[in-house]
């Protein structure tokens, strides 16, 4: 892998082309691969979620398109959304309305930079690793607020406001719950965090942190039981009421892409990343990640939605103190063990 890269750079250097050209080509190729992976993975996740929800509700779900258990349903839906008319409401702020899905998707895409699919399968092992994800994910909320406000619809504005309140409240316990792992490893780099779990997965010493992270992550993804920004029975569809066709599809894509990111980070931090016997590392990573995604879907179709005040109480009065307690105990244990 590294030798091939060196040869690739050397070939350009021999022709007298500055290194920035092969660098840009490489970035373009990697970005395309990531987008391809996101699209395939999201289409699979949507089909999977429809199947899981159906079986939880004793239905079959999609059965017809493509033959075997309706596997091509997501592809058909995607094509349908692509060829729909692009509608922008008359009262909307056109520029912000068009920009909002791009901001949300850019944030979702950028987070894939730090996901370690395998020992060498990472776009870039940044020094600040986890912190990069935490900071870039906050951009999603800006996009959601932009979408909600620019639609000029009271349901969208309400959805955007709720989303902002929720994201600000749940980001704090999310960050603090991760700190236990970071303190144990002494590094923010995703690769080093995975390597530190060679002997024991952090889910065992950091079980409280894992649960807090998973709860806060569900809220970050706006999924049930924390989906008040798009609560169908109250807000029609929340911040994306006025979106249709391709723009709606981008929001949908970003939402599922975020779900994958959150699950992948949980796998990296708590479930030992790519470690596992027999199977190749990347397969282990995907198995664990999709397992967490399955748990998230399971929770969604089992639990009811929280009220706004219950949501705030849970975030500030339960999760945050617990996360601080977890951090304090971890620090104490680390000091005592030297």
């Amino acid at each position: 892998m590294e030798k091939a890269l060196e040869r690739f750079y050397a070939a350009f250097a021999a022709l007298g082309i500055p290194w920035i050209v092969p660098q840009l080509i490489l970035m373009l190729v990697v970005a395309s691969l990531v987008i391809l992976f996101i699209s395939v993975s999201v289409m699979f996740m949507i089909w999977w979620e429809r199947k899981i929800s159906a079986h939880i509700q004793v239905r079959y779900g999609p059965m017809r398109v493509g033959g075997w258990h309706g596997w091509a349903q997501s592809i058909a839906d995607g094509i349908k959304l692509l060829i729909k008319e692009d509608v922008i409401p008359a009262g909307a702020d056109k520029l912000v309305f068009a920009l909002a899905p791009m901001v949300v998707f850019a944030a979702a895409l950028a987070a894939y930079v730090i996901i370690p699919f395998g020992p060498n399968l990472i776009v870039r092992d940044l020094n600040i690793g986890v912190l990069f994800y935490i900071s870039i994910s906050s951009l999603t909320v800006v996009g959601i607020i932009m979408a909600g406000w620019s639609s000029n619809n009271k349901y969208s504005v309400l959805g955007a406001l709720r989303s902002a309140a929720q994201a600000v409240s749940y980001e704090v316990p999310l960050v603090v719950s991760i700190l236990g792992v970071i303190m144990t490893v002494g590094s923010l780099s995703m690769i080093q965090i995975v390597e530190a779990q060679q002997r024991i997965w952090f889910v065992i010493p950091q079980f409280a942190g894992f649960l807090i992270y998973l709860t806060a992550a569900l809220a970050e993804c706006n999924r049930l039981p924390f989906d008040i920004p798009e609560a169908e029975s109250e807000l029609v569809a929340g911040f994306h009421v006025e979106y249709s066709g391709m723009r709606f599809a981008i929001f949908f894509l970003a939402e599922y892409a975020n779900m994958f990111t959150v699950a992948a980070i949980a796998t990296t931090l708590f479930l030992g990343g790519w470690h596992g016997p027999l199977l190749p590392p990347w397969l282990w990573f995907l198995i664990k990640t999709y397992f967490i995604i399955f748990v998230m879907m399971w929770v969604r179709w089992t639990l009811a939605r929280l009220r706004v005040d219950q949501l705030m109480n849970l975030g500030w009065k339960v999760l945050l103190p617990l996360a601080f307690l977890n951090m304090g105990i971890t620090g104490l244990v680390l000091v005592l063990l030297g």
Binding site: P18, I20, D93, V96, L99, L126, N127, I128, L131, F132, I134, S135, I136, S137, S138, L139, V141, V142, I145, M146, W149, V157, A160, L161, A164, A165, A167, V168, E171, G186, S187, L188
Partner: protein, 167 residues
């Protein structure tokens, strides 16, 4: 010009343009959104300076916290986002003097001060050493700032509470 310099000028132009939009846009929500892009540009400049931690914290706090609360406040304020805001008011002359004075001071500081500062030690930017410095050498200013922010927060909550009681 090296690649880094080209990138620097692109990012700097982007940041400045976004900053101008913050000041000059008629719609206050547009200002707030332009502010997001300004903060992002500043974060990119930090990355160019090898201060990755600072860049991440810049995005986390300013984009993820402050701007979102700003947008929140704008949307809760009735109809402020629908009307255009006045860009200039009667104090424009006074503020021009102040701004020019600040600009002059900063220009002088940059021209005179930068020559004396050597190239920074990249190791001191690492997150671990930053944390160590904050809890050893600079623990007093760090704690003082924490208490100051806590006091400001408590004050803000008391002010908000009192207003509600009046209603």
């Amino acid at each position: 010009m090296t690649v880094i310099q080209v990138v620097f000028f692109l990012v700097a132009a982007f940041t400045t343009a976004a900053a101008f939009l913050v000041v000059l846009a008629k719609n206050i929500v547009h200002c707030a959104i332009a502010l997001v892009f300004t903060f992002f540009g500043v974060a990119a400049l930090y990355v160019l300076l090898d201060a990755e931690f600072l860049a991440a914290v810049q995005v986390l706090l300013y984009v993820g916290g402050i701007t979102i609360l700003l947008l929140f406040a704008i949307m809760l304020t009735s109809r402020i986002s629908a009307r255009g805001v006045k860009i200039m008011n009667e104090q424009v002359g006074m503020s021009a003097v102040v701004v020019l004075a600040i600009f002059a001071v900063m220009t002088i500081a940059t021209l005179k001060g930068l020559a004396q500062v050597g190239p920074p030690d990249p190791a001191s930017y690492a997150t671990a050493s930053l944390g160590r410095l904050l809890l050893t050498t600079y623990v007093l200013p760090f704690e003082a700032v924490s208490i100051l922010l806590l006091a400001a927060m408590v004050g803000a909550i008391i002010l908000a509470r009192r207003e509600r009681e009046k209603d």
